[in-house]
Structure formats: C-alpha cells, structure tokens
Symmetry: C2
Subunit: 453 residues, 2 copies
Amino acid sequence: MAQRKITLQESEIPTHWYNILADMPNKPLPPLHPGTHQPIGPDDLAPLFPMELIKQEVSTEKWIEIPEEVRDIYSIWRPTPMYRAYGLEKALGTKSKIYYKYEGVSPAGSHKPNTAVPQAYYNMKEGVKKIATETGAGQWGSALSFACKLFGIACEVFMVKVSYEGKPYRKIMMNTWGGTVHASPSTLTNAGKTVLEKDPNSPGSLGIAISEAVEVAAMNADTKYSLGSVLNHVLMHQTIIGLEALKQMEKAGDYPDIIVAPFGGGSNFAGITFPFLQHNLTGGKKVRAIAVEPTSCPKLTRGEFRYDFGDTVGMTPLIPMYTLGHNFIPSPIHAGGLRYHGAGAIVSQLLKDGIIEADAINQTECFESGLLFSGAEGIIPAPEATHAIAEVIRQAKQADKAGVSKTILFNLCGHGHFDLGAYENYLAGKIIDYEVAKEDINASLAELDTPVI
Amino acid sequence: MAQRKITLQESEIPTHWYNILADMPNKPLPPLHPGTHQPIGPDDLAPLFPMELIKQEVSTEKWIEIPEEVRDIYSIWRPTPMYRAYGLEKALGTKSKIYYKYEGVSPAGSHKPNTAVPQAYYNMKEGVKKIATETGAGQWGSALSFACKLFGIACEVFMVKVSYEGKPYRKIMMNTWGGTVHASPSTLTNAGKTVLEKDPNSPGSLGIAISEAVEVAAMNADTKYSLGSVLNHVLMHQTIIGLEALKQMEKAGDYPDIIVAPFGGGSNFAGITFPFLQHNLTGGKKVRAIAVEPTSCPKLTRGEFRYDFGDTVGMTPLIPMYTLGHNFIPSPIHAGGLRYHGAGAIVSQLLKDGIIEADAINQTECFESGLLFSGAEGIIPAPEATHAIAEVIRQAKQADKAGVSKTILFNLCGHGHFDLGAYENYLAGKIIDYEVAKEDINASLAELDTPVI
C-alpha cells in the first residue's frame, strides 16, 4: 500500500517562524504615514498593535521563536497532514507527482488560526482586553474569535454585510466562540456612517470593514486591531505551514519543482512558499512559486506597483503594493477570501523582482477543478483553495504535454463546509465568470493620489 | 510543554477489525424473518446485502482482515488523533484525566465513513451498481455518498424530509460526491406513498426512510441496501476507532477507567468501547462503558428488550433489541443521529448482561457542555457528540466529589459545522427539553405484535 499521508508528531511542530525579510535581495520600501507620506515608526502603529507584533513587523532577524503557549494551542490541529494526491494524479492520468498540505483540519477550518493564535497571545500578554477586526467570507473572523476565546480576551468582528446575511453559519461559529459580530457598514463607527450616508443599501466590502475595525481600535485604549493577511508579521506566522511541509517533503524523499497557492492578501501563499524560497534566495534548490488569483480581482497580473491604502476610507498606513486601487470593488465571486484590492509589501516586492510568479483563473474552471478533486481525494475544498487546484491541473497538463514529470506541491488552505451553497450553484450551472475591463482598472487606479514608486 | 495530541502513523492503521461476538458470554438471539418469525439465513439477506457483508454479519471469528483497498481509503483521515483534554480538565477544575478520540477529521465529518467505505467496497467487488440508503441528519448519507464516489458506484439517499428542508448543506454535500437525494417520504416507493396517503404533510422519520431504501434495493437487481448503524458488521467496522485508541492509550502510558460514547443505534459506542471490552470479557483490565442517549429517545434506559423491526413499515428482519417500539416518534431534538427507536442486537445483549451501562441526558445540558468544550478545547462538537461530553462532565464531577481521580475516554464522533443553527438556538435560549411520558412508551410498545423474548 503506497503511503498517502505524511504525518509529523506533535514534537515536530517547528519552534521558530521564518522571516524572509532576512534573505530578500531587495527589502520592501517602508510603509508611509497616510497624512504626511513620511515613513512610519513603531509609535505610529502603537495605537493599533501590541509592541511585540510591531517589532516582528519590522524585524530582519531570520528566525523568530514561537512562544510555548502558542505552540501548545497550535498542537490542537498542528502538525497538519501532507498528502500525496494519488487519487487526483490518477484522475488526471498525469506523470507528475502532486502533493498537498491540508490546513482545513484547524477548528476554524482554514490556515487563518496560524496567525490568529499568536496575535491573540501577544495582545493578551500586553494587557489588551479586546481585539477588533474585519472579516469577508468569515474565515478570518472565526479564526480570531477562536484564538481570543482560548486566551480569554474579547473579539469584535465587522463582517462584510453581504456575507453576514448570506453566510449565517460563519457568524454563529464566531458567536459560539464568544465573538461579537456586526454587519458592516454599521452605524457604530464614523467610517460606517459615512458609507451608509452615501449608500444606505451598501453591501459592504473588506476595505470598508477594515476602516470600521481600525477606527474602533484607534478610539478605545483597551482595544487593538488585528489583520488576517497582507502585513509582514502575518505572513511570517503562516510560514509554519511551509516549515512543516519541508520536513514532510524530506520524509517523502522528494522536493517540489513547483509550489502553488491561492492569493488574497498573501498569507496563504507566503505560508507555504517562503520556507522553500529560502533555498532559492540562499543558493540552494530552486522552486517555482506560483500565486493564483481570480481573474475578477487581478492585482498581481494586471495591477500597478505603487503605494496604496489597505482600506477603503484611507485610515491605514500606505503600503508599497501591487494594487487595483483601494476603491476597486471586485465582482461577487464565491472565493470571498480572494476579493482584496492589494497584495502585501513582501510578496509585491518578490513579484517585482521576478522571484515569484502569478496567474489568474476564472471561477468556473476553479469549481470544476474543486469538484474533480473532491471526487478523487474525498475532501471538499473551499472556493479559495480551488484556485490552487486549478493551477496545479494546468501545470500537470503542461508537463505531460512537454513529456516531463514535475513534483507539484500546493496549499489546500481550507474545507468548503460553509461554501456548499456555491457548489450547489455550480452544479446547477449558475456560476458565471466576470471579465474586468481594462478601463475599469485604469479608472480605479486613476483615482489614487498616493505616491508612485 | 505537555503533549496534547497522541498521533499514530499511517502504517499503524489496524489491519483487522475486532468482532466482539467471539468473546461474548451470551450471543445475541438470531434475527427472525418478518413474515414467518423463523430465524433467517444468508439467502434471506442476499437481495439486500453483498455476500461478504452477510458473512461478516454472522461471523464469530474474532479478527476480520481489513482489505488493503479499504485501508488505503481509510488513510485519507485515519489514524485519527487522540487528545488529552487539558483545556476541559482546567475548565472543570477536575482531578480526573480526560481523553478524547476525534472522528470529525473525516471528509464527511464523522465516524460514519469507517463503515461506509468497506460497505461500498464489498458491494463494488460483487458487481453492485447502486446502493440505496436512508439518512436522518445527513451524516450517514454523506458518508456513503463519499464512499460510493471513491469506488465508482451510484448512491441513492432517502433523507428524512424535515432534515432535507432544514439542512440543505448536507444534501449539497451528498450531491457534490455524486449522490442522488430524495426527501422522504417520497412518491418513488410504495412505502412512501402509503405514508403520504395517510399524512400528506408527514415530516418523515428514519424508520420511514429505511422502508423506502429497503424497497428500492429489494425491487432492483443491481441495487443493494446499506445501513449506517445497528447491524453487527457495521458495529464491527467501527472498532477501528477503539483499536487505534488502545494503541494511543498505550503511547500515553494510560488506560481508561471509564469510556463514554453517544448512543443512536450503537455503532459509535461499539466502535470506541468494544476493543477495550475485549479485555473485560477475557479476564483483563476492566473498564466501565457508558452509552449516552437523549432523554427524549430512551430505549436503553426505559425501553423493552424484545424483538422489533428496524424500520417503520415492517420490512426488515426482526432484531432482538432494546426498543421503544418501531412506531415511536422521538421529539425533534437537534441530535438527529440519536433519534432512533431501537438498539443493535449486540449492544442490547451486552446491556442485558450488565457488561455495559446506559445513561440518558437532556439536550440543554448537552448543549451547555458542548459550548464549554468548544471554548476550552477549540473544536465545536456535533449535537450527538455533546451527549458524551455531558456524561464525561458528570463522571468527572462525581469522581471529584468522591475525592478520586478517574481516567475517562470519550468518542468525539463529529464536528458541528452543519449544526450551527442548533447552537444559534441554544445561544438565544430557544432550546427546550422534552419529557417522554411513561404512558407514551407503554402505548408505543403495546402496538407491537412481534415476539417477546
């Protein structure tokens, strides 16, 4: 019987996160103050984040120790399994070898708790009583509610209204872990009120919800803010995925030629690829790292590299990023976690420098791939994760066409238990693709008055 | 850092199921033909089941080999983790040690695939093209759809109408794996039509859905029937849980004083307890094995031990069981998987002989326990699983009161991702308990004209 699953013991959970900043040939440009456009310092971030996370955000140390309390909570679901996808390989009839790391085994059902847990921990250690955050499809809000519950602090979540109404189970999941959830835009913040004055029926967006959560944190001394992707420390926490995958690949006696991950703000992609890219950057083995975004939100493949806000209202620092403009409203695709206008500073710099690659795929191809996967491997993937699967299938077919065998690894970042409505629509032939016109991207970018790089 | 999770490698998946029939001091009485009331033989069951499963149903061999193809599919989610519940212990302030085996990591989210996979496999091997089955809350129907998809055979599911309408995600999950799902009672069978003639608005029941599925299998040569609990071979397949738990307990350097599991038809309970009861029955260490049922469906604690049908219409063989009468309609509690009128023959005989124990708990106590658990351990349990948690808490408190420390193991049989509506009701104070009047049980039993034992 061929081994399907490569398992690690609890004692093999990595003890340090990997900080790719230490190895990057060109460091990202600094974030700028939204008002002065000058580089910001730790003090500017202190109202929003605990000092330890601010230190991690700017650290260039290569390895950052994971606190024992965090590793203890990680052990609820970590180490996560890595699979050899024999079923998918057979269904494709490919000569390539396909592996995937499965992050859906966490209580919240995705990779998000990997950073929610340390973020809640450092806040708790510094006496913070409450964390405010935003959530789109609900993955991040439930991960942070879970983490806050375990460390005994409160969690307040601004959930994009269209998801709040369409995904009630995600909201209840947060409630079950003690989280308070508001539909965003809300009347609880000036940011929310401003949006509602212009459009009382606003369906909300991730950018608006971020503005609301940042405002709550800025206005309350005992409350901090937390972000589930984009920022350097968030990406670093996620490297636990790739560090485990490195060990598992070694146990499998293999090494990937290609690593694929879905791309929203960058944390999922960074998590699995950075520990391997370490070797690319330090003269070791080379992998191709491919970030997969939806064609309807193509910041990596069609965006501009410049400074932009992380939110809609313009309250966050300016970040050097590939962006579609912070006012860009992506079409209502089902992969809610990938509907974000920009990319984190580190991943943007890596793309700029040609160290990573990007591809964009339509959601019908993704759902088709997800359904093939669930029938072949048994696990129903989240819509976000199907973007990686679709790319893996493209790469395997290309390799077969070229008569070669590749070793491909991807991040199956979450299960689709709360996305079955989307699969129902797909099975009923109701899923459509959205083209983004060049003029729309240009118009959105033309609205920016942020510094060009 | 104390070890939280006891993990096994894929190579440690057990190679044989344990058949407790070999060790029972009193074997269960034989099943009877529903018409003649004579003991049935293999030929009577041949229209419904493949021959290998019929052999397993009557086998008294102690160990039955697990086919390699089945172990290969098992390896998608097995071995499952066993946890030391440090969080729950701390929340209770108990001196007792609590462990749980977590079966919610399977693709269908419960222990049900442990038997769905071998059942689909043996059917496939004997050339069966389609399996018909029933499902209540949807756990079993999704497990069998998953298994049938992997072995390339069709699956037709009769889903209790009230769940079909109230739990659409479970239905879509089955569709995603290629299963065909009908609301039961349906107009596709005589059994369904008969029920609908009497009551066009019938919400359905597990007993009715079984009648429909059995009829479809009996009327179609290429179609067999499959049951998710109650029968001997089903309970035996589930012993994979306890066999792994034995190894994990050994690794933890511990052995349980008490094992607790929820009780519907018996498969979940049998799965975790039988491999330990083996030692009780053969002169080894003794454990207390406690089956926990809802007070609203109390066949073990308040039912009668006699022959009864497995279904409502009276198409199945008569089974010697603790029963509330096959016409008993349990109140609409949220633990749909525990709303069944009878218990399997083996577990009934073990209870009769004082080898196992039973307890009944109200659902409000169960939800309270489930919520405490999810906050302390991170995993949101299925309503069925909360019955075990509530009993564990009772036992730990009793031990503390007596000034002793017990080692308690329970089966966390599934996650609650599709039951969050129930948690919402609980959080809103809308969950109520149901008392079953003595007269109602007596009236239901008085309707039986089946043989008394």
